[in-house]
Symmetry: C2
Subunit: 318 residues, 2 copies
Amino acid sequence: MTTVSKSSVSFAPATVANVGAGFDVLGFALYQPGDHVVARFNNTGKVAVKAITGDGGKLPLDAHLNTASVAVMKFLYHLRSDQGIDLEVHKKMPLGSGLGSSAASAVAAVVAANDLLGNPLEKSALLPFALEGERVACGAAHADNAAPSLLGGFVLIRSYEPLDIVPLSTPNELYAVVIHPHIEIRTKDARDILKKTIPLKQAIVQWGNIAGLVAGLLKSDYDLIGRSLSDVIVEPVRSILIPGFDAVKRSAIEAGALGCSISGSGPSVFALTKSLSTSEKVADAMQTEFLAHHIDSDRFISAVNRDGATILSEHHYQ
Amino acid sequence: MTTVSKSSVSFAPATVANVGAGFDVLGFALYQPGDHVVARFNNTGKVAVKAITGDGGKLPLDAHLNTASVAVMKFLYHLRSDQGIDLEVHKKMPLGSGLGSSAASAVAAVVAANDLLGNPLEKSALLPFALEGERVACGAAHADNAAPSLLGGFVLIRSYEPLDIVPLSTPNELYAVVIHPHIEIRTKDARDILKKTIPLKQAIVQWGNIAGLVAGLLKSDYDLIGRSLSDVIVEPVRSILIPGFDAVKRSAIEAGALGCSISGSGPSVFALTKSLSTSEKVADAMQTEFLAHHIDSDRFISAVNRDGATILSEHHYQ
């Protein structure tokens, strides 16, 4: 018999997906914000969501609809385990902000459950279950959030069929500024606005840039990263949904950012920099510019997270 | 007064452009075949093509129409030099084969001229003039042949406007097999057959693969290189012009190639391998398969050329 009182507490970070030219294939993790999930054994043989905090009541407690519990159910099914697990999901990041909120919850949940069960799987093997959880929330599994949230760093999704995850090394001094403007974009709207076909000429520009970005990351060439942080296909369309985007982006570059684009499906906007002090200036400039468009915002500044999802010891958890 | 009898002899290698998913943005150089150009001062104040060998009479001797002489004229114009130069172009590679023949001649010509003039420019600074030469031959300058022919190795053309050339390191044991089937494809036909718009879903697959290929090269991950050597946009269309392509590709993979695709606009087909002995087997298999389709072919096996265009000492030149 397992001890019912045992619990595991995990953290999974927010992520920036797409990263300029890497639509649907590239993402990276932040050190903060992120989600906490507490997992405990129960004796019901079922997975249950006992509590959700920080979501403003928006997320479902029904275990078959919640991204965290679905991920854990898929994980237990894979293990052929009929162990029951209670989950608490503590959202510590904005929902619907383009920072991979549902991926973070799903990742945190499977990481906590895996720890609770004595780590039957390697961390990297947990990805498929997190993706199943995200599929519930988003209708589709876009590994460009879940993979970096789980593994940390920059992660390339080379292929979805079959899933081929390529961790990319990250330059030492790479920082991200994320500004979350207080406007709402539904992921579905952000997808529907995209054209189903694109000019070959633009596609060539795009794959030059994604190739340049990957080369810049692996060569620690900050200028190349900056030059490659350009998206001629998705950003021009989606930025229409973000008032002031062009001015915010310009202000980021003028304040010293290597580059700037939309985080995931938005509305958050991210910039990359090569120092913490520049990051502060860039964040100031971007928030000031959003304010000039009468939009309040939150800011997050973080080095690129190299650890991904982690288990927290109990005393770390408040 | 310069000495009229002085001459410089250069070699510029054949190149494989596109390299799977890198249409118009990626290319690499072979050690052989390639072109030789001899440059000598003359007293006419003009650039002249005095001889062309190995072209079967197909290339123009008119200095304003020949890719080699145009490249040298642009170079001299840039230097504000009214020095006259005679060129001999010795084609040591097949024309119209998808191996960057015109780029090799243009590159060899400017490299020889630069040496003749005492190297007023760094080698890498010669690229724009080679591209101008190629523009004459092809109507457009696609740096994915000229850049690797000049610089060697794998070269990413991140951007054309402005031109942004990114040399990529190459794994130590990477070999190329190139099979040149004796069929003709005009570059213009190979371009015209391409669709002007492509589905976004295919573009995403493509940029996952180009990103994976760049990561594989920089990480020396041969398996990743192989998995990433996939082109869902250009190869399916252009391969229609190459009888037996699918069978030839399959035979290459079965014989141990990491991957296989069309070299440039074809008809040459290339495969990458990680050893010389595998390369021989792959070449055998590919040529046998072409023969089964009643097509004779030439084979070239080479490590990836890390040197690019070079100056030959006189006694090296036959």
